[in-house]
Subunit: 141 residues, 2 copies
DNA sequence: TAAATAGTTACACTTACTGTAACAATTATT
DNA sequence: AATAATTGTTACAGTAAGTGTAACTATTTA
């Protein structure tokens, strides 16, 4: 699953959970509703649990619930919860180039640049909340 | 090769070519200098040729030359020349969800969002030229 | 204690990536 | 015209990564 597909899946699940509030929804129902495999979804949801975005309960009538108000839950924290690798990732483990050589300096340069871009993207994501997404898609025909 | 690694390789090659101006450099020399496989490098360079960023000449003393002044050559056009897939890519080929359902609407939403982010990234890349990169890395110890 | 659920692990399958080599096409030089 | 050097392209085996699914374990409620 690519970074973006994972984020999209997580948000779909969160929107579904948010719409069902305050009743907890189990992974099977959520998975069926948004069209993904339940086991995979649980993997994603478990990461959201670890990052205090949703809470889970076991047993009958158990399932998942939002842990924060949807107006306070933004994309960036969801993204960080499910992503290990960053969107722009430079492979610099390669066979070592000579220190202070042009290629070595360019590696550093790009690491810095991609990191800057990553920050920009995350800033953009910080101003998008689950609530704002729900409002936006509900106002569309 | 990831998008970012390919971009980084292309820029390393372009910097090397730029430094050797006006003598054309062949793929073997460039590859050795920046530490990549010559055949792979030729694949990248051939895309730059098709996009009028470098020109190539066959035969003895042949090789690659910048086709534009390094002050007029920016990252965005290099990126576009070598990338088919975009950095943020949402997989929406999946088993079709019902039209106008929440998941379907969210797919559209994310396609738009990722496209916006892509535009932002490319805008940022447009103000970075090969010349500015060369100056920056040469001023560093 | 039983049943339902989250959380995790495992695995076969497929797909994509990697590195390298080999081949085909092109052109300057002799 | 022949040759040699080079770009441009294809092929391929080997490896790594992603996918989908199932099965298992852990936890909790009733």
């Amino acid at each position: 699953m690519s970074a973006s597909t994972k984020l999209s899946t997580a948000v779909k699940a969160l929107c579904y959970i948010s719409n069902c509030y305050p009743e907890p929804k189990n992974s099977t129902d959520i998975a069926n509703s948004i069209g993904v495999n339940a086991s995979k979804l649980r993997k994603i949801l478990s990461m959201l649990v670890k990052n205090d975005i949703v809470e889970s309960s076991y047993g009958v009538k158990g399932g998942f619930l939002l842990k924060k108000d949807s107006s306070k839950l933004h994309l960036q924290e969801i993204y960080c919860a499910i992503e290990d690798r960053k969107a722009f990732y430079l492979d610099v483990r390669k066979k070592d180039v000579k220190k202070n050589s042009m290629p070595a300096k360019l590696n550093s340069y790009f690491l810095e640049l991609f990191s800057d871009i990553q920050v920009d993207i995350e800033e953009k994501m910080k101003i998008i909340t689950i609530k704002s997404i729900l409002e936006k898609i509900n106002n569309k025909k």
